[in-house]
Symmetry: D2
Subunit: 313 residues, 4 copies
């Protein structure tokens, strides 16, 4: 049995898993991410893999990293939340681990996970949208992960949806991520709560009266308990996302769009307004077959499963 180890490297944690050929996870592990020290990140990954290997016959390692990865699947060119700039992570890790390593963008890895074993297993052309703190994407075309000419394709969070819109951490204005991410959701919630907007009072009360204590999961929880303001916050995010996906579908024409990431845990509170906005904003609807919008099925395991599987491709 050929096992691979998938590792998901983010700004707050590093998660690893041993994954078999069917995408099944045999064992998982997780450590804090020493985000601001490149060497410490490498060592943490190596240690995590070493530990998992001690109990499983791992043959390959796939890394999913939150950043721009080059076309050779080796270097991280830039990562806003990690101290990795032009680091040849593949070489560094192969030296430390002694196994073949491939490096992929984390959302690309998640896209591959859903494509190979999850919500997109029945299609050839897939757009994955991960909605967490930020908005990421991955594209599978004709059954192959699409990485672009230089590596960083599918940066769909930086589709510009509003001219002169919100300033984004990327330095641009009006990026989709500023309207359709968990961070945007929390920003809106805090602004309303701190501004004394009446409708925000129940949410503010849930946060103990402190606007700064509002989090994404808290909004989701409040929405699921029926708080109209929180429901509307998620619906507003969903409408922006649906509009952005309508643009992406006009360009990519995938067979399915899979929605994952932490915010997708809101389920139908997210998916129903998202689908409705998508359908009403898609150019040429009624004159063309249209991608299905689906909820991801692998949850937050999509990244490690996809990274592991990509190590074998």
């Amino acid at each position: 049995m050929t096992l691979a180890c998938g590792v998901d490297v983010g700004g707050t944690k590093i998660a690893g898993a041993v994954v078999d050929l069917e995408g099944k996870i045999l064992e998982e592990a997780r450590v804090e991410s020493p985000a601001m020290d490149a060497e410490a990140i490498e060592q943490a990954i190596a240690d995590l893999v070493a530990d998992l290997r001690s109990r499983h016959e791992v043959e390959r390692v796939g890394i999913g990293a939150a950043g721009y990865v080059d076309a050779k699947r080796a270097s991280v060119m830039f990562a806003p939340n990690l101290a990795l700039r032009d680091v040849d992570l593949k070489s560094e890790l192969e030296q430390r681990i002694g196994l073949p390593v491939v490096v992929e963008n984390d959302a690309n890895a998640a896209a591959w996970g859903e494509f190979a074993f999850g919500a997109g297993a029945d299609v050839d052309d897939l757009l994955m949208v991960t909605v967490g703190t930020g908005v990421g994407g991955g594209i599978v075309l004709d059954g192959r992960l699409y990485r672009g000419a230089f590596g960083p394709a599918a940066e769909i969070g930086h589709l510009r949806v509003v001219p002169e819109g919100h300033l984004c951490g990327c330095g641009q204005r009006g990026c989709l991520e500023q309207y359709a991410s968990g961070r945007a959701l929390v920003r809106e919630a805090k602004t309303a709560a701190a501004g004394g907007v009446d409708a925000a009072e129940p949410l503010l009360a849930l946060a103990g009266g402190d606007a700064e204590a509002i989090t994404g999961p808290l909004v989701t929880e409040a929405a699921q308990a029926g708080d109209p303001f929180s429901i509307e916050l998620i619906a507003s995010l969903a409408r922006w996302l649906g509009g952005g996906i309508a643009s992406l579908v006009a360009v990519l024409d995938p067979a399915a769009v899979v929605i994952g990431g932490g915010v997708s845990e809101a389920g139908d509170l997210l998916m129903l307004p998202l689908r409705s906005a998508f359908e009403s904003q898609l150019s040429g609807r009624g004159h063309r077959p249209v991608a299905e919008i689906r909820l991801a099925t692998l949850g937050n395991k999509a990244g490690v499963i996809g990274a592991a599987d990509l190590a074998r491709h």
Copy 2:
């Protein structure tokens, strides 16, 4: 020598050409387009091809049509300016012509032309942007024309760039085409001229004092003669286009973007502000290699050349 016939079917004209394996045109022909009568269109294409075949040993026929073409390269599902809805153009034409026919979207055909023989001949991943009356696109990925899961991919003119923006003929609002096409250029010119905007007076004078007589080529001509208002109209179009391309590059990460179509005849008056807007609006610039923005080299022949060549693939 294997010759193919490429045919470009638009709302106002049908152009055909006999094209060799190197993309060289041996002979051309052109007729008016009976745009609103499907059968007449088919007959006009068949007659045009018959005429060209009488002097050349044509073996295949490629059609580029301004509409949504299905994934089988056979049917036109929808074409806003042509009377083709769910017409199996491939079968109809093969019957009339007696040769293998493939049907492609016209901008896809142009993209392939530039990829195979023009400005994109040195790259594997290409985004073609055609800026004429509307804005069209074609995508070549890993050396293959990308058509999407259902056929109508690369509809980049319908990327939504302004929430609640200009109403588009597609029924949506804020499509790139409403800001960065020849039609948009003329609309802005007419509005300013009819409204008595001082700066528009020289252009209005060129149009004989009649705002309704302003055309795209007239604006280009005035701009090239130094009219500041016309220069700014083209620059404004270019900035919208550059912004839209920045979004598309974030998603597709091509090696090159090729700009064609009638408006591209403005040359540097278009390309300089376009490149500047693209560079300033691209997310992550400075941290990634970036696509070159190039002017098309095949002019308005890209479509017939590409369609002919696609008939052989």
Copy 3:
């Protein structure tokens, strides 16, 4: 009994009326407007007044002109649709007519008409919004017509509601007039009809299949007969207008807002979505008394009635 003559000077017609102290019209007259010849306009006004005077003892003349009028109520500084630039209309007309003349902006005159004898007769602070081909406004504060420091106050059609929005005939972008006027309504209708938008088909049929033949009154008529597309066109205009009025009420805090002009003939099809948008977009609602939004009651006579009455103030 002191009678005054009110004259409404527009780009297509000149309308005059003899008006008594109660705002009652005793006689009306109307001629074509020689819009592009200043002297001809003056003579046409003089002739119209002379004719009315021959049957009524008129003592004063009030002119409402579609343009910027100076603070002395004498000169038309600028008029986009009339050949009047820096013309001392007061002097010219007093010479020709031999009676005291005052010149006012046409929407200001309409505002005064509604304030003195119409929908605003019970309040001291009034905002008049005229929605015809364009969007005009008039402001009455503490019972006095507000003309601004230099004359052209209340140009509410040029409130900027969309950054980088539609180009306006005034040379700016995103003016309210480009979203909430009869001209905007017709532009949207034509674009949709010409673009083959399915929903626009009934309206297109009403226009005999010719998109260019669509007019504002035709849209109103279709809407009143239940055409969903025309209803939505008017509702969209109404939402923009409601949003603009919410901004104006935040600044001016009037006791009433009166909606007049040709588009107001749509009645509740306009007023219901307008009020709803106004209420949902007004800052601080629930914490302040709010202006009533009312339909004008003097119809297209408000201008001549107001101009006549202003001649006596």
Copy 4:
């Protein structure tokens, strides 16, 4: 000599001053604001006035409060940052103080201060714009403070400048205050610094590497020392403000616009781009006399001086 006491009641402090008939301050005092307790606010004001009266023959008291004040100059209907809702502040204070009291909106008081003794002393029609944490306004028309029909006029910070724009503390979206206030400036600065935008690094360094430690005065300081990013942040705020003022001038046509508030301390770094944006966005420029845009001259004393003087009118 008739002296009045002016009091400026904000969310963080209460400032008082004894002011003579020429607008000269004889003595000042200041205490912390017990913002969230209505009775404590009243007592703090009364104590402050009592203290000042012990050394000056004060005859009247004028209060400037950051909230909606009713048309009788008596009650605070709503104040987002103060615990005053439907409080008859006039009665409460007259009882505690034993002198005639008038209550005004704080920006209205500042407008009156600049009109009576400051940058607007030479005009009859004035728009005051205060740019501090938020954006406030005051309007003087024909030499009288304009309060609106119900009291809360001149809420210019809530002019909607972007459809579906930033959420405002008032519950609406796209308010000018979200683009042109000190709070907006700081939000943009923090977003860029936290996102790792290269250009923001010098500012981040000034804040000790902690994005959350960036303040408005720090940005002003950095800009004045030549930091390009901080200069651009202020210029961006200035452009939004200039655009908003262009809309307000189209409606109000004042003779002068006076810019005050803490952000105005940036001087020409604010005023030059503001004037430039105003001029380029004013409808009808070139065809009308235009308001001068001036810097306020009374600094943060405008409020107390104006409140004191309004107590005598």
